[in-house]
């Protein structure tokens, strides 16, 4: 492995200063970064370990009703926080549908947001990849790309963002708090990840040294708790990335949808908020027809980037199902197979 410096700053300010140097990267739990380093995909000169920083591992309810999640809270701790799971059930379900128990115990909130794509050509250093090496080309085009993007991709890059957690977060309007060289600022999660365009190597809105310190869910996010689900289709029952996933959250008043939130995962270089589909649902009754209409709207701009046309139809069906499940109501207990199409199997068979 390439030798690197390892620094463990005592304060956020020190961390930002240390990470602003060229060749420096933040190290959280390392479940993604260390794999990339072992594979020679990332070859940093300096790791700035943030896991010992104080004050980034809390979950706090703010006076205005929003919730602030420290960047170092583990995926598992967050999902298993009873109040959190009750208030944002789709987020808990998404977290628990990701990776494995061991990985979730280690993985952090900040690291999950900034995990890199699973595009196999990105990982394979012998392949050309614009994201890994700007301007080198994209071997995923014309390659094995049945799981690549169907929305927001460009000729330069067809990769997807693999996070489950981000999908309901973006649907619920989460905000990311960032500490940078110029102090603290915040942006909508929807603006954190960038679409590839001509510069797929620039994946996020972060500048050198920028540290995610927290993710905030606005007060309104709680109001969806009674009708919020995450659904993830994958190629084995657990421990697999989404082929396509969706988070659906509804606020239902008097039998009508007062407000809908919808986002897709595994379809684009960012968690894909489907605002046009949300608009379609506003004020209508939660019917299959309405959900189908929303699904069409959500995928209007979708186009295959390779052998993946099926993902468009799959995404439509997932949207319909996720909305249907959300409308039916959040289950009292998180299913044993979170976000799985098999979540509610009772075992009984009838012809």
């Amino acid at each position: 492995m390439k030798p690197f410096d390892y620094v463990r700053p005592a304060t956020v300010t020190e961390a930002v200063a240390a990470a602003a140097q060229p060749g420096a990267v933040y190290l959280a739990a390392g479940t993604n970064l260390l794999d990339l380093m072992k594979g020679g995909v990332s070859r940093p000169d300096r790791l700035v370990d943030v896991t010992h920083l104080d004050g980034l591992d809390g979950i706090e309810r703010l006076a205005d009703g929003s919730l602030r999640i420290g960047a170092l809270v583990s995926n598992a701790d967050l999902a298993h926080d009873a109040d959190f799971a009750r208030s944002y059930p789709a987020v808990a379900e998404a977290l628990l549908s990701g990776a494995s128990a061991q990985l979730r115990n280690a993985a952090t909130v900040g690291g999950n947001l900034l995990q890199r794509t699973r595009c196999a050509y990105f990982y394979d250093t012998a392949s050309r990849c614009n994201k890994r090496e700007a301007g080198s080309g994209c071997d995923a085009r014309g390659g094995e790309n049945r799981t690549h993007a169907v929305l927001g991709w460009s000729e330069s890059c067809i990769a997807t963002h693999p996070s489950d957690f981000c999908v309901p977060l973006v649907a619920l309007g989460a905000v990311v708090e960032i500490e940078g060289r110029a102090g603290r600022r915040e942006i909508a999660l929807d603006e954190l990840h960038r679409l590839p365009g001509d510069t797929p190597e620039r994946e996020s809105a972060l500048e050198p040294g920028d540290l995610i310190v927290a993710v905030r869910l606005p007060p309104a996010a709680r109001e969806f708790a009674p009708h919020a689900r995450y659904l993830k289709v994958r190629e084995r029952t657990s421990y697999a990335f989404a082929v396509v996933s969706a988070a659906a959250a509804l606020r239902i008043e008097n039998g009508r949808i007062a407000e809908a939130r919808l986002a897709l995962g595994g379809v684009a270089a960012k968690p894909w908020r489907a605002s046009a589909a949300e608009d379609v649902l506003k004020g209508v009754a939660p019917t299959t027809d309405a959900f189908q209409e929303a699904a069409w709207r959500a995928l209007t701009d979708a186009k295959p980037s390779g052998d993946n046309a099926f993902k468009i139809e799959l995404a439509r069906r997932i949207v319909v199902r996720a909305l249907t499940l959300a409308a039916a109501g959040t289950p009292a207990r998180l299913p044993a197979l979170p976000a799985s199409p098999f979540a509610s199997t009772s075992g009984a068979i009838h012809a």
């Binding site: 289709v233 099926f310 069906r317 199902r321 075992g347 068979i349």
Partner: protein
Amino acid sequence: MPELNLTSAPAHLRHGSNIGQPLTRRDGVLKVTGQATYAADNHPPGMLFAVIATSSIARGRVASLDVAAAKRHPGVVDVMTSDHKPPLAIDPEIKTNPFVFRMEALQSNEVRYANQPIAVVIAETLEAATEGAALLAPRYETLPALIGLDAGESFVPPVVGVGNPTENHRGDVEAGLASAETQIDATYETPPQYHNAMEPHAVVAHWDGDKLSVDMPTQGLKLSLARIAELFGIAHDKIHIRSPFLGGGFGSKGLMGGPPVLGIMAAKLVGKPVKLVLRREQMYGPVGHRAPTRQRLRIGADGEGRLTALDHHARTVSSTFDDFYEPAADASHTLYAAPAIRTSHDAVRVNTGTPLFMRAPGEATGSIALESAIDEMAWACGIDPLSFRLKNYAEVEPITGKPFSSKALRACYDQGAARFGWAKRPLQPRQMRDDAGLLVGWGMGTATFPALMFQAEARAAIRRDGSGVMEIGAHDMGQGAWTALAQIAADAVGLDVDRVTFKAGTSDLPDAGIAGGSAHTATAGAAIHSAGAAVIAKLADLATNDERSPLFGAGNAGVIARDGRLIRRDDESRGESYAEILARAGVAEVEAHGTGAPNPAAMEEYAMHAHGAVFAEVKVDPELGQVRVTRMVGAFAAGRIVNPRMVQSQLFGGMIWGLSFALHEEAVTDRRSGRIMNANLGEYHVPVNADVPPLDVITVEEHDPHVNALGIKGVGEIGITGSAAAVANAVWHATGVRVRKFPIRIEELLAQR
């Protein structure tokens, strides 16, 4: 490292004789407490670390390597390349016998497949060696790679599998098809798959002058010994290989490949002990895999649903430099009583590491195609798939006409179907749903695997204190050989299992043959059985010829060995202990050798196979296409069951692998570069716990007087056969969609809702 002595393992529960008892693994406590020393756990003093640099192109040559950059890296000791390496005594390309796997030992700068070893960096730390390998930054002259089943001109290989004829036929297939009332013609595809044993291939090599000690997992100690001896030009007795534990092999540790040889060469180059361990992604190339297949089945049936013809053709691939051909079509030789059968193979050469046997080679790939096609035919005839199979039940082996040495398949069908509740299955697909609206389907497949025997030797001894010794260079790959073979040993010398010192796993012990072909328990067991009988006969000679012994003169009536005593067969009250016999004779120990081997006369007369029937239930989301297996029942008849617990776990493992074959496993190969794009356990999917349903295994009683002295058929591989198709057939029954390309993918099931 001390040699392993399993008599120190905790005592076991035992009732009555040893064979047939569900003993827990004798090495279990060592394993769960981390005391089992796998090859890579060895660290002889002064040891260096070697890391292989592999090729990223699939075809061409290495034009340059930046050896200087690698050597400049702190900690790097040396870089072994095709220009700088210790000489080998023979060219590794020469096949001195059919069990030689051609390998890359840096003999040239030619590249024949992606992930081929092209250099070895030796360093003081693993990290330094790893970075040194990265710094080599190879430059290549690249040629277009040959990839996939249509890569070039096909040809008919001389043999498939291990020496099977490429083509076989009986009866007139075309006439049979022409006369058929119903015909199907279906083509199935199976992907490349990699063994992916948990334990990667590893070697710790240590030269002491011209003596060589090697820690290395192997399924064939003596084959490896012979290979090392010829490659390095040293005598067999100068080499000591220790392979006490394998973290799985599945065929990939059967024939010696290049990586361990490179480790031994590296140790020679630097004059120090060297450890070389493959990284997971490096296992996708030089250590074998299951080749892809495309199989066409043409089947005819008459108006009653009786087969008139079965034609099974398989296309597969081998490497550009060696020959192993997945014998997929051979799966059609044994199962169904078609009056006309033809099986044939052809192949193309591609830029891949050479394929090799991987758990049920031929049977696994062939069975998913055959059993899918039989299911299709049953449906085409409007007959329940189990009834259809029973209607076409083979009373004699169809391809040869020989009687079976034993065949309890009917009982497997009956017991499996009863346990599963098969009788309630609707004939039509897409009829069942569960409460949540998921489609439910039931499918079945017939399992079959030949009962093979290889050659083995064993040495048995009875010691002055009345205890026993059994020595055999057998291999425990995790399947429990040490437990099952020790049970056979205990019965063979008439002692409790804990009174027998059972030695296995090193190359200085008698040759146990290869642990493959599901034949290890049978072969090694037969050798142990015969060595035990021989040593007891010697002991009996001492006693029956000694007038002071209560057994004097028992010669004709014979004696029985039981619980450390010899007793007269005709008068069990007369007997004496082993210790007494030896003490009186003034002998420290008696020893004898035994062999296990196939019986050519029996093989000539009988067809020998294990059989089984597997039933599976799947649920499929009707809109989203995701599949989950929810129940599996397998009933297997495999002769004598030496240890029901080990056997059950082998069959579980096989059934899970079958599920994996149907739904998960595929090495995704880039169609241009030939590189495997998912060479890691995150993305090369095998089932996780949540994919594996409650499994129910029934072992059906079967007595086989012909296969070998112990009546053992072997259970290592049969579980995967039948199971894969049972799952695939259940997916069809759930959805009405017949997927003929494996693994079954979501997109195939989305087409129809």
